[in-house]
Symmetry: D4
């Protein structure tokens, strides 16, 4: 089971999958995890979440304060580090500084990742990658939906989405975006799931605001889907 | 009321709106305002304006000297600083060093801006933006018409223009360009106005020469349109 | 009369036009003139020309030595500096360090240039250009055919060529390229001529080899065409 | 109380000071905390610690496995995120993305920090910093000992060290380095403490190997020294 | 009379000198004037001034609000543009986009400037500068004291300062810095004055905080010194 | 006979052709040969080959150890240097530091190369290339299939492939890729052969894994095809 | 036994040491080995060697042709690859893509290397190195003598050279340089040897010309010295 | 006889030496010759010369117009190209695109140059230079006096100048500079001459203004000195 991207949705998914006794490898291109969470909004390092996602912060032991009806704030640094710390302690293994540059495929399925050191790519060195097999891949790379895009650009295939292809995200409409992110979280091609902001980018949904509830809930949902499927013996 | 871009048309619009008691926030990506006005033409820091726009320089207290029939010259530095100084004193609030990277939208309207520190973008840091609601947005970003372009690139929509889409500016034909800039200044999508050189870029008009009259007049016109609409209780 | 690009075809055209008493302004983006001639082929600073173009080197007083049937060699540095020296002495005025970034147009004609300091463009400064009117423009910018391309990219128009649009140059076939360069040198849009390698790029001809005869002959031909037209009182 | 640098010694110091009810502000130049810990040694993301420091990992709940006499290994990602998570929960406030570019001084003492957005410095923008007063400053910036160096470079002063000036670190001798790091952790100028690798750089000690025990112990020691001094009513 | 640097002290000096009927040329390396004032402190675009300097803001018509005993705040954008607008209207001529790269000297005096386009320097082009004679030069280039430093680096001479040489600024001590800036504003070599932050850098004084009163007062003082000297017929 | 690219397939082809007494010139853009072989997989400098290709390593005297059924490993540095050393000793002439930037063509055939110093291209200098005639060209440039792509981009032509045009490689499926690489190695346009990874890129085949057998076999096959054709007197 | 730098002297030393049954690890910063040998002189890829060194090329099976009294030429690509191929086959293990950034030391001796991925350094990532113990280190890094310089810069010590410190190489005097290189090849500090061009840089000798004999002989000499010492049971 | 630098003094020296039947090789780092002459002063491409140097422009056939007592102006482009054209025709051989990176020396004399492709240095490739012997070297590299500086930096020697070492140029004092340039033009070390601006940089003289007479006269003087010496049979 591989997750690509250690932002909020990827870390939450890793935590719930590891807690469910699934062997999880999370690949993060940067050396540090947390994605865009560290800087909050415009460097004011607080994050906002909706009441519906408050229980997930509670699960991770992150303090959140109510600041208006339905919304809570939390310290961005505390949240980023606590999500990661908990995912590791639950048993997820994080491979940081590793870039996923391509996928392993078969006739009509994703069956693994093609990885390399990020340092090698930043240094523009000509070094071959290695290939790693896995049962499922979750694209949790955020806006760029890197895994979805590389799969589409290099192969001729159709996703299980209304349009069948990667759409790119629209302008910002927070409420609508939160709703559709959660709704569309799931498998879009045999072996490939999307979670977090990669969902909206793939489906052509609206952009989410600097509110992180949807990403936490999407991470939880993708984990539960896979756990159920595994329990069902798939 | 938000204006994007503190070049001549944006500053003039801000001045007249603020004088008309509208609360104006002007967002400028650079730290300094004035756009391309500081360098005059090819670094010879004089600007040229037509007689029809002379009264606007007078309004701002900028000295202009006649140099041939119908044309006046003014000092580029004096003009840039005086437009800004007057806009601030009239009550406009300028947020400099702030980039508008996207828009807030609803089903068929622009309802706000998505902003970030320019420093964050220049440093290629991964930090989320903040969203700011506003009644109307004026794209006064000049040649690139950045607001118009981001709206079109990320969403599927039709502008209130002959072609319905962003056209890009043609080669230089100063007289024709001055005329069409003024004529086409206005609202091109619910909530979104264009002013100054962004007008010609959007409508596929000819490029303006290093003559600034049209930009001043366009800034004045867009302000008057909005003031009338507000007076009309819209 | 404006020429854009001070490579071999531009300098030769400038020389013959100035000798014909036409007022010639040659705009060159770099500080130094000569284009790609200084480095010869792969830095071995000799150039090769065909016998048919030998008389042009003679006209400029450049020593050329026969090295095989039909072909002569000359020193690249001597040739580049001598073409320029002679063009200046004949009365052409060279504006170096000046980039042509756009054209002045009317309904269906080119009527001038939009210029800026190359230094301003290299420094990515936001400074407006100036506009310069002229009777004809010769695009002698070589491979990129910069003037032809900016005209096509920014306007909707048809060139007087078989395809009507800019084609881009094919792979190398020296003999065929030399022939078609000379044949197609001429006016491709009211007010706009092409000379030298810009000809083949525009017409989709084959690439020339490191043999400079065709460029010298093309420069001479474009000058003669314009001189005749002017003599004819156009 | 201000700490500069959120690597292992800075985070451990922040944790113990916050637990001791001291108000702690930790400034980190990058957006993410953890310093050089994420990449382990040569990107193999495991860290090694000595038995003497094992109790500190235990305090933070980080799992460590014995791999040879006197030495334990831990997951680098788990350690980095857990140190930070615990420091935040203990009450330390981390200001990330903030660079300390200078110090506030009085006749013979450090009395505060001069800070700016790291993004502003990366973007080479000309923006003034702000000044923040504090009782003590801990330089936990590692190898470069940035705070110590800026103080020495800009002022004429003598540190409470054998040489009186910044020495720079020697080549690697792990055992000797671990010993001297711990021994020399402390106040080197009124108001300025050093901890972690900044200690050896300041005192001209040997370089530490990729073994993190000394840094954890140094962070603990500097916190205890300050807590005692505060308890003593200083 | 030449001033180098269009930050607060340079603009204020230009204003008072121009009002005193002195012919003033102000050279600014960037295209826009205002120096580091636009960004306020850490991009929060407000500036703070002391009560003693309030009368200068009043002179320029800038609104300032009292926010605590002895201190006022003003909008950074309004202040920057209003200082410049007033200096221009008083008759000062600003040459922006022009870098002062060296000085004209005689046996023991500064007698002019060596200038070039900033664009040329940014583009790393090899173009000679021009030389401009003037009666006095004011170095108002802030922290780097560029004029003072180039004079010292290229010549063997002694300044009229306690140390005789450029010292470089110390760490931040606002009160002390404001006092010594004003005290040391003046002529440090025949024909060369220093004003604003360049004063402290030259004399080895403490760094000023993000409080602009001292710079305004220093600009006023340097102007008055020169006006008196000129009135005295020097 | 010219080969472009000194990676494994190019070096093996050069070796067998030179052994077959064909005059071979191998052009390599970098100074060093070996392509992507030096770094093994993710910098672990071992390479893997299939049993079917073992006899080629034996031919070059490279030690390979069996590590599982059907697969052998070899030292990456030993393999890269030994392939090159043997090719040189067999008589192939390697022109390193030379970039192939275009092709020489006739009506319907490739008849040579257009080359330049790589240093000239890296330095962005404007220097003309030289042209070199040859009987056949093998594109052994790997993933980018540079020769194939430049031919297609600059000319209007059809390759002898199912699609007729360059397809670009798909995601990774090692077994399928090894098979199709070998099958499709051959002439795709009169005078132009493809070998190694350039084969799959051209035919739209799957990506090969970090297993080098297919590349060695493809290099051998392309050499044998050309040798037979030459023996047949073509 | 560690060698730093896989240029000609390092490869020759590695070959003779490995042949002498010493366990040799050669660390090379680049991915490819061969140092400056690939490009010959000014990209003309031939190398020149003196008759005295001809027997070493013979040992490696490299063809050399006499071109004047006392001097032979060889193909640069064949030589570089053959030296490496032979060193590997003799048993030396080459770690390429690995930078030696510091040394392990004890009171008065070098006892190992501090290494990191070159990719990490090129990417400016903050990742700790690893330390590797070894009996002797040979600095074969050429002109910069990187190992010698890092040892001197970071520690206070005296080399066994006439001056006691690193001197830097003088201008070119080939004959004198060849002689002194060979003479001074040897141990300059307990545990640290110099070979090849690093010798002259360390001793302040003259620069060698593009003649490689001295480097081959120096590599052989350093290997023999160490082999004798080891045979002597040291 | 080698000259380094093809600016005005180098080209004039080359012309007179070649006319005197000396075999001259002129090495220029850039592809184009002319040095800083193309851009005139601040891109206004006119140059100024004193009456005393007028006869040299006459010798080269460059038109100069009197514009005030003692001073003439000429077109910068015409002058640069005509100096070069005449030097080539007189027989000087110009090696452009070639960098002189070091010198060949003997015990107490300069005996040649160490050269490389400029492209190789710009591309940061590791390629060895070639060495070229010559009787004398003239450093005509302008401000940086590159040859003088490399000789001093790499060797321990004393120049035949008052100070014995390279001094660096002072600030601008045109009249004094013109005088001392001419006076000090000559041999400063056995085999090494300085001419043009390199003279003042070496002797610590004042900087010349944008007036080119001194450079032309210095080029003439250095040529005459060497011609006399050669005639004298040295």
């Amino acid at each position: 089971m591989a997750i690509v991207g250690a932002g909020p949705s990827g870390l939450v998914a890793a935590y719930y999958l590891a807690k469910g006794k699934v062997k999880v490898a999370l690949f993060e291109g940067k050396l540090s995890v947390g994605g865009g969470m560290w800087g909050g909004g415009m460097l004011f390092n607080e994050i906002v979440i909706q009441q519906t996602a408050k229980r997930i912060l509670d699960e991770f032991g992150v303090t959140a304060e109510k600041f208006q009806e339905e919304y809570y704030t939390a310290d961005a640094v505390e949240t980023a580090s606590s999500l990661c710390s908990a995912a590791c302690r639950a048993g997820a293994r994080i491979f940081n500084g590793v870039t996923v540059e391509d996928l392993m495929v078969r006739e009509k399925a994703v069956v693994g990742l093609v990885i390399n050191w990020t340092a090698v790519e930043m240094a523009h060195l000509h070094v071959d990658p290695l290939a790693v097999r896995c049962r499922f891949v979750i694209d949790a790379t955020g806006h760029p939906a890197e895994v979805v895009q590389v799969l589409q650009r290099k192969n001729r295939l159709t996703f299980r989405t209304p349009e069948g292809t990667f759409q790119g995200e629209r302008s910002l409409w927070a409420e609508e975006a939160e709703r559709s992110t959660l709704e569309n979280t799931g498998e879009i091609y045999p072996g490939l799931y999307v979670a977090g902001m990669a969902v909206n980018a793939t489906f052509g949904g609206y952009r989410m605001g600097p509110i992180f509830g949807g990403m936490l809930l999407s991470g939880e949902k993708v984990a539960r889907s896979i756990l159920e499927r595994m329990k069902a013996g798939e």
